[in-house]
């Protein structure tokens, strides 16, 4: 099969959907003439023109709101945040307008919009450019939250997100844009709300999403060399969450480690743990463990980042703990 980069997969998804539906447009900082800060939208201005691939000033609150308004009037915007760190400037329009509109209008105004961009750390970028927002947005009813981990999933999920009639938060990573993977030429869609078992195993369930999935798969390899067969579940959607797939896996393996880049308090991991203990309490052979980012703003120094972030060693250690193999 053909191999393309993550950024190309995203671009293809947007291009295909824009060819299919004239109501879809892309708006954000540097998306048009600069071809995207991370070159995701390269060539799109040329193909679709400045009516549909639109550069904005650095005015996130304004253009997020303009997107929501356009969606109220029947368009299907894709709003790119250069990174989700900057979505904080716009979060009022995402949460108070996009997420709540359908409900507070008694079902009259649905908001078919995609807010997309990278989330989480991308190296030594300091505290204000490294935050994870998956759990922030997943907390909010009215939104859907999607976090692909490879080019194939990214393309299929983004196409679905653009066709979705509700607001979708679509989170990527600067560190994944260059990742390569198999993506077929033919069209396909991946449903929102379904997890994907990235690796089958019987000894322990490792759950994660987004770029941490790739770290978990590395950890699975390391564990295999020690005779531990981990099952790796990529949630892919964080709202809604595919609890069934997760609970089924834990019922099989009886052990679970959750890996998440965000801060620990009120993270997705806590939510998953709740549902597992509720639905599979009698199946658990060990307390569920999580590996998360540290409970501090991410500093710049490499030594502190090393201490802060989840890594293969920390994941392997947690797995061995739930297997009582230390």
């Amino acid at each position: 099969m053909r191999i393309i980069q993550f950024r190309e997969a995203l671009r293809e998804a947007m291009q295909e959907e824009m060819r299919r539906d004239p109501n879809v447009f892309l708006m954000g900082e540097e998306v048009a003439e600069y071809n995207g800060a991370y070159k995701v939208s390269q060539g799109m201005l040329e193909e679709f023109g400045s009516k549909r691939v639109i550069d904005t000033p650095i005015s996130e609150l304004g253009f997020a709101g303009i997107g929501v308004g356009a969606a109220m009037a029947g368009l299907r915007p894709i709003i790119e945040f250069m990174t989700f760190n900057f979505s904080l400037v716009a979060i009022d329009q995402v949460v108070n307008s996009a997420a709540k509109m359908l409900s507070m209008s008694g079902g009259q105004y649905n908001i078919p919009i995609v807010f997309r961009g990278p989330s989480g750390n991308a190296g030594q970028l300091g505290a204000q450019h490294s935050q994870c927002f998956e759990n922030w947005y997943a907390n909010c009813p009215g939104l859907k939250v999607v976090t692909p981990s490879n080019p194939y999933d990214a393309k299929g999920l983004l196409k679905t997100a653009i066709r979705d009639n509700d607001p979708v938060i679509f989170m990527e990573s600067e560190l994944m844009y260059g990742n390569k993977g198999e993506v077929p030429e033919h069209e396909y869609l991946i449903p929102i709300g379904k997890a994907d078992i990235k690796k089958q195993g019987s000894d322990v369930t490792i759950v994660s999403f987004g770029k941490m999935v790739n770290l978990c798969l590395e950890a699975c390899q390391a564990l295999e060399s020690e005779g531990i067969q981990a099952e790796m579940i990529d949630l892919m959607s964080l709202r809604p969450i595919d609890y069934d797939t997760l609970v089924q896996s834990v019922k099989k393996t009886n052990r679970c480690v959750i890996v998440e880049e965000s801060w620990p308090l009120a993270a997705i991991a806590g939510e998953l743990t709740y549902m597992i203990q509720k639905r599979a309490f009698d199946y658990l052979d060990a307390p569920i463990l999580r590996v998360t980012g540290s409970d501090v703003p991410l500093p710049y120094a490499p030594t502190l980042i090393e201490a802060y972030l989840p890594n293969v060693k920390k994941i392997v250690h947690a797995v061995k703990q739930v297997m009582y193999r230390n």
Binding site: Q124, Q128, P299, A301
Partner: protein, 336 residues
């Protein structure tokens, strides 16, 4: 409002040489930082100040160490102008514990309380209300100080600026808003970000005194800022200065700057602010060539020394991770 001051005085040897020294230090520091970035000694985002030196230097000479300065992520020049040592700045770029933010901030987040330097801020426009807030505190405590609040042309399009301008003006806060208009916000030229391309005119919407200033000339920056600072300290409220300048390098280290022409860059290099003050000094016979060369030599030593210092300094120990997050000493972090 846009009219130029008539220059009546010639600036002294001391003042002009200090400007030269400061600007040359910024220039060489940034050139070195650029090199070291190439060697991956410095990581992350790194935004150089080369070309804009007259802004930081001309503002600094218009204020006192007791006054405050706050800026965005393009903050190396302002920190050096405030008197933060080249050692502390370079060590911060390296992420070493001896840096001005203990290696926790990096290029974008230089801070120095000792120098009333309130930081380097990474969210475009975020520091604009902060600057007004510092001025609020000055007024509240009835001090005779000013806060200088820098931001870029791109930041002028953030909502936070408009809200802050309105309140700062309504409450007559002692703040000088300085837009360093270097013509681009990443790849977006000022013309492509608004119909209002004279950014100083934004002040007029709030009845805020405002004017454009030639940022390639340190004397013009100094004079315009001095007036604005006086106004603030006299209780007359804020001023907006749009200081027109230019960055010679890309937006950050990863930007090839294909959105502008070589001719444009060359045109601005001919207006170089350092060459400018150097010829002013020589033409007015304020100092001899040898004295200027001695400054160049001194700066070479400072740069070599700060790199050596940064190289030899240790990284923060991993145990530093939980320090400096809360003012409370024994905050119960989640550790499992």
């Amino acid at each position: 409002m846009a009219k130029k001051n008539v220059k009546i005085e010639t600036y002294s040897k001391e003042v002009t040489l200090r400007w030269y020294h400061q600007m040359m230090l910024m220039r060489r520091f940034e050139e070195k930082a650029g090199q070291l970035y190439g060697q991956q000694k410095i990581r992350g985002f790194c935004h150089l100040y080369i070309g804009q030196e007259a802004v930081a230097a001309g503002v600094e000479s218009a204020i006192t160490p007791e006054d405050y300065v706050i800026t965005a992520y393009r903050d190396h020049g302002q920190a050096l102008a405030r008197g933060v040592s080249a050692r502390a700045c370079m060590a911060e770029l390296y992420g070493k514990i001896t840096g001005c933010s203990k290696g926790k901030g990096g290029s974008m987040h230089f801070f120095s309380k000792e120098h009333n330097f309130l930081g380097g801020h990474g969210i475009v426009g975020g520091q604009i209300p902060l600057g007004a807030g510092v001025a609020f505190a000055i007024k509240y405590r009835e001090e005779k100080k000013v806060c200088i609040c820098f931001f870029g042309d791109g930041a002028a399009r953030q909502g936070a600026l408009h809200e802050a301008f309105n309140m700062a003006m309504m409450w007559k806060l002692p703040v000088v808003f300085i837009c360093e208009n270097n013509l681009y916000a990443m790849g977006t030229s000022v013309e492509r970000s608004s119909n209002v391309t004279d950014i100083w005119k934004i002040g007029l919407a709030y009845d805020m005194p405002a004017e454009p200033v030639n940022g390639m000339n340190v004397i013009e920056v100094h004079e315009a800022t001095t007036k604005a600072v006086q106004r603030a300290k006299n209780g007359e409220g804020p001023t907006l200065l749009e200081i027109k300048t230019y960055r010679y390098r890309g937006h950050s280290m990863s930007d090839p700057a294909k959105y502008r022409t070589k001719e444009e860059l060359e045109k601005y290099k001919e207006l170089d602010p350092i060459a400018n003050i150097k010829s002013y000094i020589l033409e007015n016979q304020l100092a001899k060539v040898e004295e200027i060369e001695a400054i160049d030599e001194e700066i070479k030593t400072i740069i070599a020394d700060c790199v050596d210092f940064a190289e030899k300094s240790p990284y923060p120990d991993p145990s530093e991770l939980y320090n400096d997050v809360y003012a409370e000493p024994n905050y119960p972090f989640i550790m499992e």
